[in-house]
């Protein structure tokens, strides 16, 4: 299910100054692909991801996903849209501290009418053995795996990852990237990855570069490289 973003504008009023966070953003994201969004800080990457994921609104333009025009949806319809199609992964993992690994994933599972198998997912992310542990007993990389499992188990159409490796070292970061690639290949999930890390672009099918709220470049890779071989920066 492709994502069509057309002439989207988004402004923030911050005191006296107006910030143009998205400026005429137009973009096509094909199905089952990995897309990397690159750009300097403040260029509007997160804003783009958030409007696509339906946790933020935009001022004008249109976004069409699965036959739904996001700007026409009411708040509760937007919630249902997220519930059905989107999976979010955050830099800070945002697990629920009072729940174990498995229970955290369960939180995602309950949202879906046709969830994937718990054991299968936890085994794939390599956390099945630690399913009884609480988040504070896990490393950052492990927590991010759980977050991915939580997003994944409801079998979403696309995964929206805002700097998923931002808080991780190279080795762990690469493992997470490999996992995302694996997810993309196994379940056909479209994966959007925001990153500061130029190298990560190399593993994506498509790289979108942003600057000052504008999409300045869009590159397609015929043969994305293996996450292991990404140049880490």
């Amino acid at each position: 299910m492709a994502i069509h973003v057309k002439e989207v504008h988004k402004k923030y009023q911050s005191g006296e100054v107006q910030i143009h966070a998205l400026r005429d953003a137009t973009l096509e994201i094909p199905d089952h692909k990995i897309v990397a969004i690159l750009g300097p800080s403040g260029s509007g990457k997160s804003t783009l991801l958030n409007v696509i994921g339906g946790i933020d609104r935009y001022d004008s333009g249109s976004i069409l996903i699965a036959g739904q025009q996001l700007e026409t949806l009411k708040d509760h319809q937007l919630t249902d849209f997220r519930r059905k199609y989107a999976g979010f992964i955050f830099q800070q993992y945002n697990l629920i501290p009072a729940l174990t690994v498995q229970e955290n994933v369960e939180v995602g599972k309950e949202l879906s009418e046709r969830p994937l198998d718990m054991e299968d997912i936890l085994t794939k992310v390599g956390m099945w053995d630690k399913r009884e542990k609480f988040p504070f007993q896990l490393s950052g990389g492990e927590q991010q795996r759980v977050a991915i499992a939580r997003a994944l188990i409801k079998n979403p159409e696309f995964l929206l990852c805002d700097e998923p490796t931002g808080a991780l070292d190279e080795e762990t970061g690469k493992k997470i990237l490999a996992l995302l690639k694996y997810v993309n290949e196994t379940y056909g999930t479209t994966v959007l990855i925001i990153t500061h890390n130029q190298g990560i672009g190399e593993m994506a099918h498509k790289v979108i570069k942003m600057s000052s709220g504008e999409i300045v470049e869009s590159i397609d890779h015929e043969h994305p490289i293996d996450p292991e071989k990404v140049t880490w920066s």
């Binding site: 933020d56 629920i96 729940l99 369960e106 939180v107 409801k154």
Partner: protein, 746 residues
């Protein structure tokens, strides 16, 4: 929902905080349920007994026997049911008096609780009296040398509150009780027989003119309407008076506990902002999240009200038993209490808790998920208006820090203030109640009434009183429009009554005008210098007197004037009197209508002071528990919220004591301030309550605050505060640097 697990885990982790609010809720529900159940039992039984057993609308004491034919005429003329009843006061053993009545059929019908109606040679007595005097069913008791068999336990509708004299404040079933027997048995006993005429009307009102007409035919020694009959009225004023207590006290505690729950909820939502944002981003609907967070309220509400109902139901049993000792009411109905109490006790707190929690939650849920996901603007970003005040930025760092802490936690400070105030008021209520019994006894019965016996005669006396006795005239009068009072004509130089106000004796002032009792002063609103118009019910004479002073007499509406003036007003001969005060034990004779033994009165006070002590102790415990919970909860939250600063101080090298001084002791002046403000509030509100009740009860509890109350109260509150600080200090110890770093990272 899997999220539900987080509720139980959070509650387990913060068990003290949640247990605290639950205990508050339990207290509120328990108090409401137990008091309501006990009172509604009392009310139902009273109503049933009054209606089914034809409680009198009035009664009179006649100076001679009444003709049946005469009574029938009155019945027809005034549309009233009249019945004659005889009574005798007989001695039982050394100490106790049994008032035996003949059995009636139309008015004040006796109810036999156990055993059977007495036949000739038998009596039935009040059950409490039997218990206190170790009399069992079937026992034979010796009355004036006559052995009489106890055939049953009896309840009389006009002796629900079993007091010997109308003016008695407290009952004492050990010393005084009632019984019934048939006329023949009564006649066989020695002593004077009293004739009573009992009247019953459909609407409970006294037919106009009946009193005047009867008094033209027979001498009426006393005429008492059910409204002024303490034996009937006392239970009603108890029911009415308790209504305020039943609702106000639990409502207050409920409000406090809900405020605490909301505070915990707000704190929880604050801590879980990110979680909520994440869940929203994942696709959880607002309704689902609201229901999830309402889970906390459900848990607290159901546990609190459930335990409260159980405890309340359990507690109502001993409470009802206390009432049963006071009021002689037969268990007429199966379901004595109103089942609505349980519904209200369960639903009101639960509904309030859920509705208000839902409101607090909805405020957070209205926030966009993105906003929730972003770290909250640091509180330091926004200055509270208090911090903008100039003095906030003066002084040393520690002063500034403390002032800021106070300013930022306005709600917390307010709750600490209210919590301390509530505990103080409750504590002082207990102290005052405790003290006022003592004060009432000492001033009324030791300082003012210095006689040992008061002897009331059934007819006017003119002969010279014995040496050491002081004669006085007494009559019932109406003050102003419709306030009933007792008029005492006393010899101003008597030593048997010292009308004192504080330390000053007002007896010499009698030449200037009347001295009145405190209840009368409050009901009429009159003070020294004002004028009162009094009328004599029988002769319709009118007299306007100036008030010379208000004496510290706390019981009854009484007005004192010199005897000569009273005799003139009543139309008595100059030398006449109706009663005497004396120290020696009086001789019983036919002329004597009633003897008041003051020691007996004092004893009955002493015997009930045990109950008061327990009540006071109970109130003090409740006050301390509430204070402790509220203070601990608040100081705990303050430590929790300030843990980043606290760990920073620790890292900087501050010792724990210094940190706790910095963070926790901020509230000490607030606690002290609240305490000293609460003392006059407690005193005034109790005085106000007593003043409104005086019209119904006819007595006034002195509400003076004495120094020891202030000191003991202060020590108790400070101790409570200190305990809560101790509990929170333990928490302070566990605040680590790591935690601070983690928080900053989020």
């Amino acid at each position: 929902m899997i999220l539900r697990k987080t509720i139980f885990r959070t509650i387990k982790e913060k068990k003290f905080q949640y247990a605290g609010v639950i205990v508050l809720l339990v207290l509120a529900v328990m108090l409401y349920v137990s008091l309501s159940m006990a009172i509604s039992t009392l009310e139902e039984r009273n109503n049933a007994f009054t209606d089914e057993y034809k409680q009198e609308s009035f009664h009179l004491v006649a100076g001679q026997d009444l003709e049946t034919q005469q009574m029938e005429e009155w019945e027809r003329a005034y549309d009233v049911t009249l019945e004659k009843r005889f009574s005798k006061d007989v001695e039982l053993g050394e100490e106790s008096t049994l008032r035996l009545f003949t059995i009636t059929e139309d008015v004040n019908r006796p109810y036999i609780g156990e055993g059977s109606m007495p036949k000739t040679g038998e009596i039935a007595v009040a059950e409490v009296f039997a218990t206190e005097n170790e009399i069992e069913l079937g026992d034979s008791v010796d009355i004036g040398g006559e052995p009489l068999k106890v055939s049953g336990f009896v309840y009389l509708p006009d002796y629900i509150y079993m007091i010997k004299r109308q003016t008695d404040l407290l009952n004492n079933p050990e010393q005084f009780g009632i019984g019934i027997t048939n006329e023949r048995t009564l006649d066989n006993l020695g002593g004077a027989k009293q004739v009573q005429l009992l009247g019953w009307t459909e609407n409970g009102k006294i037919p106009d003119g009946i009193q005047t007409e009867i008094s033209q035919e027979v001498p009426v020694l006393q005429f008492v309407s059910s409204g002024e009959n303490a034996r009937i009225q006392f239970v009603e004023s108890e029911i009415e008076g308790s209504q305020t207590l039943i609702t106000t006290l639990p409502l207050f505690i409920l409000a406090l506990s809900i405020a605490m729950v909301l505070m915990l909820m707000k704190r929880r939502l604050e801590l879980q902002r990110k979680e909520i944002g994440t869940l929203m981003a994942l696709g959880y609907r607002k309704k689902e999240l609201r229901n999830h967070y309402l889970g906390y309220a459900w848990f607290i509400g159901l546990t609190g009200t459930g335990l409260g109902l159980l405890a309340g139901a359990g507690f109502s049993v001993p409470l009802s038993n206390i009432y049963a000792d006071f009021f002689n009411l037969p268990p007429l109905s199966m379901f004595d209490w109103d089942p609505m109490i349980l519904v209200i006790g369960l639903l009101i707190p639960l509904a309030l808790l859920l509705a208000l929690t839902a409101f607090v939650i909805s405020r957070t849920l209205r926030t966009e998920p993105l906003t929730l996901l972003r770290p909250k603007e640091m509180a330091s970003g926004k200055k509270s208006w208090l911090e903008k005040l100039p003095f906030m930025n003066r002084g040393s760092f520690t002063t500034k820090f403390r002032l800021r802490l106070l300013a930022r936690n306005k709600a917390r400070s307010l709750y600490i203030f209210i919590g301390v105030m509530f505990s103080t008021v409750l504590l002082l209520f207990g102290f005052i109640a405790f003290h006022s019994m003592e004060r009432l006894v000492t001033t009324t019965y030791e300082d003012i009434q210095t006689y040992d016996y008061a002897v009331y005669y059934s007819t006017l006396q003119t002969e010279q009183t014995e040496e050491g006795a002081s004669p006085f005239s007494m009559a019932e009068i109406t003050v102003g429009e419709d306030t009933k009072a007792n008029l005492y004509g006393i010899q101003p130089d008597t030593s048997y009554i010292q009308l004192k106000s504080d330390e000053e004796t007002l007896n010499p002032e009698l030449s200037e005008g009347a001295v009145i009792s405190r209840p009368l002063a409050i009901i009429t609103g009159a003070t020294a210098g004002d004028e009162l118009t009094i009328t004599n019910g029988i002769s319709e004479n009118e007299l306007t007197v100036e008030i010379a002073g208000v004496a510290d007499l706390f019981i009854g509406n009484a007005l004192y004037l010199p005897k000569d003036q009273v005799n003139e007003f009543l139309g008595y001969p100059q030398e006449a009197y109706t009663a005497v005060w004396q120290d020696g034990e009086p001789q019983m004779s036919d002329r004597v209508f009633l003897v008041e033994d003051k020691q007996e009165v004092i004893d009955s006070f002493e015997s009930t002071s045990g109950a008061t002590r327990n009540t006071v102790a109970g109130m003090a415990v409740v006050a301390v528990v509430i204070g402790m919970i509220v203070l601990t909860l608040l100081t705990n939250l303050i430590v929790e919220e300030n843990s980043p600063s606290i760990s920073l101080f620790k890292v900087m090298g501050y010792h724990e004591n210094e940190v706790s001084k910095l963070v926790l002791n901020v509230y000490t002046p607030l606690v002290i301030l609240s305490y000293f403000l609460s003392v006059p509030i407690a005193q005034m509100s109790l005085e106000q309550t007593m003043n409104t009740l005086v019209e119904e009860t006819g007595f006034l509890f002195p509400t003076d605050v004495v120094w020891w109350m202030v000191v003991v109260g202060f020590l108790t509150i400070v101790f409570t505060y200190w305990m809560s600080l101790m509990l929170s200090k333990r928490k302070l110890k566990h605040v680590s640097l790591q935690e601070a770093l983690k928080k900053q990272q989020d």
